[in-house]
Amino acid sequence: MSFINYSSREINCKIVYYGPGLCGKTTNLQHIYNRTNPELKGKMISLETEAERTLFFDFLPLALGEIRGFKTRFHLYTVPGQVFYDASRKLILKGVDGVVFVADSQAERLEANLESLDNLHLNLAEQGHDLSSLPYVIQYNKRDLPNAAPMAEMQRLMNPNGVPEFEASAATGLGVFETLKSVARLVLQELRDASR
């Protein structure tokens, strides 16, 4: 649920990066953090285990600029991908304005992607949401790896509705900002359409 503050003239929106464990959600946020001007970003918070796996979430506040005199801020969150952290994922999805599903392109992770996608559908449905009516994009990460599955197969399995999709290598930054811009654009368009 976006927050429009007329007093401070700000719009705040929440974007959640979802996907299976080790697919690169945190790496996406780290790249955005490293490549964003200091005045446009807040502190990146990572609540992680001792083994540097996401325990609860990563959080990165970003300011994109002004629209019609309103400062536009996006709060980026990742969920913990490991299957047993489902309770945490449900909490982080609350109030979401846009979703990025980060798929792991490695052939052996296809099943994990589909399981995570099903879990996303289920957890959104519990909150009365549906991916078809929510700003939503897919990122196929790790395309640079030699064991990446063919794009056609991933698209067929994960994107039957043809939502915006991006090939990426979050470790090198390829496709990271394209993904973010696409989902941010959809969120703002949704905000506009909702007020018409």
Binding site: I11, G42, G65, A184, R185, A194
Partner: protein, 163 residues
């Protein structure tokens, strides 16, 4: 179905801020923050200038969300009051209505008893103020004539990403 945006106008902000500023004085608090359950800062008051309020709001909302789920596991609906004790500063967190969180930061100039007493009265006033806000929003929902966003063009959106 999507949630509607939460909209706060100047008048709402002034009303909420007045209650919070009074609570700062009554409870001898260092700082008071109201955030919504999605982690957005609504208002702040007190002497804690320069603190990272964006992180504070996000972490407080997450803490409340996690504790709420814990409550349900042990058969409670929610834990409406949390207290975190530090060496110098302490945090008193209270749920206000169904959607807001009141965070009071205090040190040795105050006490848990005083904070609890003052928060009880203030949170009732805040709950009423938020309820009134919701009723006003229901009576006069944002329409094309009073929403600046209905006029956003694709070019406006493109311009955000051009720099």
């Amino acid at each position: 179905m999507r949630d509607l945006p939460f909209v706060m106008y100047d008048e709402d902000q002034r009303q909420i801020l007045a209650i919070v500023e009074r609570l700062v004085r009554d409870a001898n608090a260092k700082g008071i923050f109201i955030v919504d359950r999605n982690g957005q800062l609504i208002v702040e008051a007190g002497e804690m200038h320069g603190v990272d309020t964006t992180s504070l709001a996000s972490l407080a909302a997450s803490c409340v969300a996690a504790t709420g789920s814990l409550a349900q596991i042990v058969g409670e609906e929610d834990f409406p009051v949390h207290f975190h004790q530090g060496r110098r500063d302490n945090l008193h967190i209270t749920l206000v209505g169904t959607s807001f969180i009141l965070i009071v930061v205090f040190d040795e100039r105050s006490s848990l008893g005083l904070v609890r007493l003052r928060v009880k009265k203030a949170s009732a006033a805040l709950a009423k103020a938020f309820e009134d806000m919701a009723k006003r929003a229901e009576r006069a929902p944002a329409s094309p004539t009073n929403s600046p966003f209905s006029e956003i063009t694709d070019e406006d959106i493109d311009n955000l990403f051009s720099t």
